[in-house]
């Protein structure tokens, strides 16, 4: 909105300072600050509101509230995240950009699925009775299909030549340019990445910080790849307009930091599936739009490891082999099993995520 107001008014001398609104850097900073402040202001109210409506984490087995466990903490903090990021983007993004619209749609769509799931758990008064797995996948698949359809259509925000290309980190040229491979791959990628954060979200502050790292790195990629000079210098495909993703990423990082304010151990609010799925959806769409799908293995290495360990343990170990393949899964539970306190597990995994984010950033130059 501010982008348009700036465009409209900047020619008038009195509003010439609104030229700033055209610069990605200033809009990104604005988006981040708006998001942080808005989150800090609104979250206490949301905590109160969620508590009132009994949208709190459900006790699993016993009915007695314990002094040690976390049942009773308001859940669905993801609503704040999604709401604030959307508001900040409406203010600071160029809403005519397909990049911004697609990533916002991805976030809201996945967030909505998470919201319904969270609500089902609240209604059933059980942490185990959310939306059924196939139903969730179906709704997520619908979005993935929509995204693929847009990317394959003439309305794709990407340059036509790039539409079906697959890039790998460290390689200057695309390795594959085959729509029959690429689009099914994107479909699966969105489903897998979209759900990976959900599994990571199991300890206070564990999901939000690595998410902020990851989305920030993607924001940097968006800024550089949307810039003709930088993209040529770094041997990346030039994606005109991808800079809007930097604004989105800033808003997201701001909201994430604001959320951490309350979510840090011991948490006053959880993000719930609403939060984790919306983060997953945003990361997935942003990676696809920036042609950095393969980079996600490094960038979101933590999410990948968490999801992988959990799936291997459950599907191969417990269901097929009738034994545990890891002592515990996902990763953060394995660390807790080894005797680490929750706070320590979280900080260690932040460090790991930070290293992975830096490594992902380093691939910019290592080509």
């Amino acid at each position: 909105m501010i982008f348009w107001i700036g465009k409209l008014l900047a020619p008038f001398h009195a509003f010439s300072f609104l030229r700033l609104a055209e610069y990605l850097s200033s809009r990104s900073i604005g988006a981040a600050l708006t998001a942080v402040l808005l989150t800090l202001w609104i979250t206490p109210k949301v905590i109160w509101w969620l508590q009132r409506r009994a949208f709190v984490d459900q006790v699993r087995e016993t009915g007695i509230p314990s002094a040690f466990d976390k049942a009773g903490t308001p859940v669905m903090g993801g609503v704040v995240l999604v709401g604030v990021v959307t508001a900040s983007c409406l203010l600071w993004c160029n809403l005519g950009s397909g990049y911004a619209l697609l990533v916002l749609l991805g976030m809201v769509w996945f967030g909505a699925i998470g919201f319904v799931d969270d609500r089902a758990k609240m209604m059933a008064k059980s942490g185990d009775k959310g939306m059924s797995e196939p139903k969730k996948l179906l709704l997520q698949g619908a979005f993935a299909a929509l995204l693929v359809a847009v990317l394959a259509s003439p309305w794709t925000p990407l340059p036509a030549a790039e539409s079906a290309r697959l890039h790998l980190p460290f390689l200057k040229t695309a390795v594959l340019d085959n729509p029959w491979f690429y689009f099914p791959f994107v479909f699966l990628f969105v489903l897998l990445v979209g759900n990976s954060v959900n599994i990571t979200d199991g300890m206070d502050g564990l999901a939000i910080v690595p998410s902020v790292f990851a989305i920030s790195v993607l924001g940097v990629f968006g800024y550089l790849l949307g810039n003709a000079i930088w993209s040529r210098y770094l041997f990346y495909p030039f994606l005109p307009g991808a800079g809007e993703l930097a604004v989105f990423a800033s808003a997201f990082a701001g909201a994430g930091i604001g959320f951490l304010w309350f979510n840090a151990y011991p948490a006053q609010i959880f993000m719930g599936d609403t939060g984790s799925l919306s983060i997953g959806g945003s990361l997935a769409v942003a990676s696809v739009l920036l042609k950095q799908e393969a980079l996600f293995v490094i960038l979101g290495g933590l999410f990948v490891a968490e999801a992988f360990s959990s799936q291997v343990q459950d599907k191969i170990g417990i269901k097929l082999l009738g034994r545990r393949l890891f002592a515990r899964a996902p990763l953060h539970h394995a660390m807790a099993y080894n005797g680490l306190a929750e706070t320590k597990v979280v900080v260690r995994l932040w460090i790991v995520a930070g290293i992975l984010a830096l490594a992902a950033l380093a691939t910019l130059k290592l080509r």
Partner: protein, 681 residues
């Protein structure tokens, strides 16, 4: 109430009746009986069944034309070739049935279950939706637990006729109790006439017990009866046992020959001569009505057909239901009649013999139950009356009444309809687990399960131990532990001893044996619960300490700790636990350390535990300290000063802590105070 639309549609002459149901005679006969009751002069009857099954022979003999459709039994909804074939058969069968329906244009369709009826009912429902058929669809369920297809198909039927009141709750809205339609073959014979008609004589004044496992016979019943004869011998003067062994031959079992051989090996010639004075066996009775006429008591299987037959004739029954059938329907049938007061139930035991399930009926127990009933004419008279009351309805006529008038001929008080009595294994497990979690160490299975059900539950759980799927075996293991199935310990140990390797693919993925890790681990959990210590168990413990799966090693160590003070191979076990301290897995190492503390002494355990002072994982260090504590508490440590000097060597940094949230603590205290007040008032 009188404006029942069904009433307006009274059957006229020329009604076209389509009967379907089959696979086994148990489904075909009721269909034929209903057909006979419905048919009037001028009506046309057609039977639809599956080729190569019982109906192919039985139906033409009755002079009823038969059409065939494709169908196969439901193999379970999981991706398998059998499931694909089932779907294909269902699709093709439904198409064939639709063609038949369009040609025959029936007014009434009666389905009696079995997979043969599924395509017909599906096709009929489909055609009705398209307004291509006006047929009214009815279903009859013979067993207390309906088959899967009848349960599904029952939703689309105008009415579901059920045999046992227990079943009504599964068909809310359209269920109707009618009983079991018996074909009018077995008439009533007066005892004098029966004596004249039979080719053997029963001495005067004897109570006749008719033991009969169906036309094919039942192995466990036959063998159990032979074993029981010895205990019945002292009562020879008052009893007469008539035994129908059945015609079964094949699969290594010949009903008649096996019975004769068992008699010959179990009893001396002298004993056999005595037995002959009160025992008579035949492979088959052509004039079964006459045998029934003389019988004061029958011992039978739990098939719906035979149960209904004897109940209608007012003969009290001792029922030996066959275990492990789909939905445990024989058990459900038997219990339904038992509940009504018309029968008593005696359960077989399922035991393993050469890795195969064998059902065994304990002869002594059978003899006791036969005698108790044989010598209690008052009870028998009562059972006879109650059995007739509940199952003595003329079912075929009642069904015909329903079809013609749209309602029952008599009204049943709905409050008298009992709930189903059979619990699934999974439901039983969750009930037991909940009780065990709530009661802790004071858990007693008798508080949760009715004592008379225990034997059946245990036998059912034991039969799961040879199931193809490990999930089922696992369920069986857990159940046996919680059901206090002490006598099944050898079966559990056999699972541990079974070292058949898992399929190659699973081994490549990290599997080891066909008896998967969870099964083995849970065997140890069950052993700890069963609290049996014998040579076999100790052998298993020693093997468990070196199992390739860490959860098994940990559980074996915990189990050993529970048996403290009762282990004969104590020294060996302590030595093995000492080695277990070096386990790669911290849980197994910790469990070994704790067990060592409970089992060992100053010489064999203390140094090893102190050596863990700077172990990498604090959980193992903590377990070692707990072990040391238990050594001290048990008075095993004499040189206390030396231990005091050694203790500071323990690396005490720990990276875990337990948070305590003031807010929640206060909240919980308020709740606790409130509930205390409640108890006091």
């Amino acid at each position: 109430m009188l404006q029942n639309p069904a009433e307006a549609r009274r059957l006229k002459t020329g009604t076209r009746i389509l009967l379907t149901g089959g696979g086994t005679a148990g489904h075909v006969n009721p269909a034929l009986a209903i057909g006979a009751a419905l048919a009037e002069p001028g009506s046309e009857v057609l039977f639809v069944g599956v080729k190569g099954r019982a109906e192919e022979q039985v139906v033409p003999r009755e002079g009823i034309p038969i059409h065939f459709v494709r169908a196969s039994g439901f193999p379970g909804a999981r991706p398998s070739p059998a499931f694909v074939r089932f779907l294909l058969d269902l699709a093709v069968g439904t198409a064939q049935a639709a063609a038949t329906l369009l040609r025959f244009r029936p007014d009434v369709i009666i389905g009696t279950g079995g997979f043969a009826s599924a395509p017909v009912i599906f096709a009929a429902t489909f055609l009705k939706k398209l307004r291509l058929s006006k047929a009214r669809v009815f279903v009859h369920e013979q067993n207390a637990v309906p088959g899967k297809l009848n349960r599904l198909v029952g939703r689309y039927a105008e009415k579901v006729f059920v045999t046992f009141p227990e079943t009504l709750s599964l068909f809310p809205g359209n269920g109707a109790l009618t009983g079991y339609p018996v074909r009018k073959r077995i008439g009533h014979v007066a005892p004098e006439e029966a004596r004249a008609r039979l080719d053997f004589t029963v001495p005067e004044g004897r109570t006749v017990v008719f033991v009969f496992g169906g036309s094919q016979g039942s192995r466990s019943l036959n063998r159990g009866l032979v074993d029981a004869l010895g205990d019945l011998m002292p009562h020879a003067g008052r009893l007469f046992v008539v035994h129908g062994t059945g015609l079964f031959k094949g699969g290594g079992y010949d009903a008649e020959a096996d019975t004769a051989a068992r008699l010959a090996t179990r009893y001396t010639e002298e004993e056999r001569a005595r037995i002959a004075t009160f025992y008579l066996s035949r492979s088959y009775f052509h004039d079964i009505a006459s045998v029934y006429a003389l019988a004061s008591l029958v011992v039978i299987r739990g098939g719906s057909g035979s149960l209904n037959e004897v109940a209608r004739m007012g003969i009290p029954a001792l029922v030996v239901p066959k275990a492990n059938l789909p939905g445990d329907h024989q058990v459900a049938n038997a219990r339904a009649l038992e509940r009504a007061g018309g029968a008593e139930v005696i359960y077989e035991e399922t035991v393993l013999s050469d890795g195969r399930l064998v059902e065994v009926l304990d002869g002594a127990r059978l003899a006791r139950r036969i005698l108790a009933l044989a010598e209690d004419p008052v009870r028998r008279a009562d059972m006879s009356k109650k059995g007739r009351d509940v199952l003595g309805i003329d079912a075929a006529a009642e069904i015909a009444h329903h079809v013609r008038h749209g309602r029952a001929s008599t009204v049943i008080d709905p409050t008298l309809v009992p709930a189903p009595t059979v619990v699934s294994n999974a439901a039983l497990l969750s009930r037991l687990e909940k009780a065990a979690a709530a009661a802790g160490r004071s858990y007693r299975v008798e508080d949760v399960v009715e004592p008379r059900d225990l034997a059946w539950f245990r036998s059912r759980a034991a039969s799961l131990l040879v199931h193809d799927e490990w999930e089922a075996r696992n369920l069986g293991v857990k159940l046996l532990g919680l059901l206090d199935g002490t006598e099944k310990v050898p079966l559990l140990l056999a699972l541990l001893a079974d070292r058949t390797p898992a399929p190659l693919l699973q081994r490549l993925l990290g599997g080891d044996f066909a008896q998967v890790g969870f099964v083995r681990r849970n065997v140890y959990t069950a052993l700890a619960r069963l609290d049996v210590v014998d040579a076999g168990v100790e052998e298993a413990l020693l093997a468990g300490f070196t199992d390739p799966y860490w959860e098994v090693r940990a559980e074996a160590a915990r189990t050993a700790a529970r048996f403290a003070g009762r282990l004969a191979r104590h020294v060996e076990i302590v030595a093995a636990l000492g080695k277990g301290l070096c386990d790669r897995n911290l849980e197994a190492a910790a469990a070994a350390a704790e067990a060592l503390g409970t089992l060992g002494g100053e010489r064999d355990a203390l140094p090893a535990l102190l050596a863990l002072a700077d172990y990498r994982f604090w959980k193992v260090r903590a377990a070692a300290l707990r072990g040391v504590l238990s050594l001290v508490e048990r008075g095993e440590v004499r040189d206390r000063e030396k231990l005091k000097q050694a203790l500071p060597g323990f690396l005490l940094t720990s990276t875990d802590f337990r948070p305590q949230f003031e807010m929640k603590l206060s909240y919980r205290r308020v709740l606790e105070a409130l509930s205390r007040g409640q108890e006091a008032s």
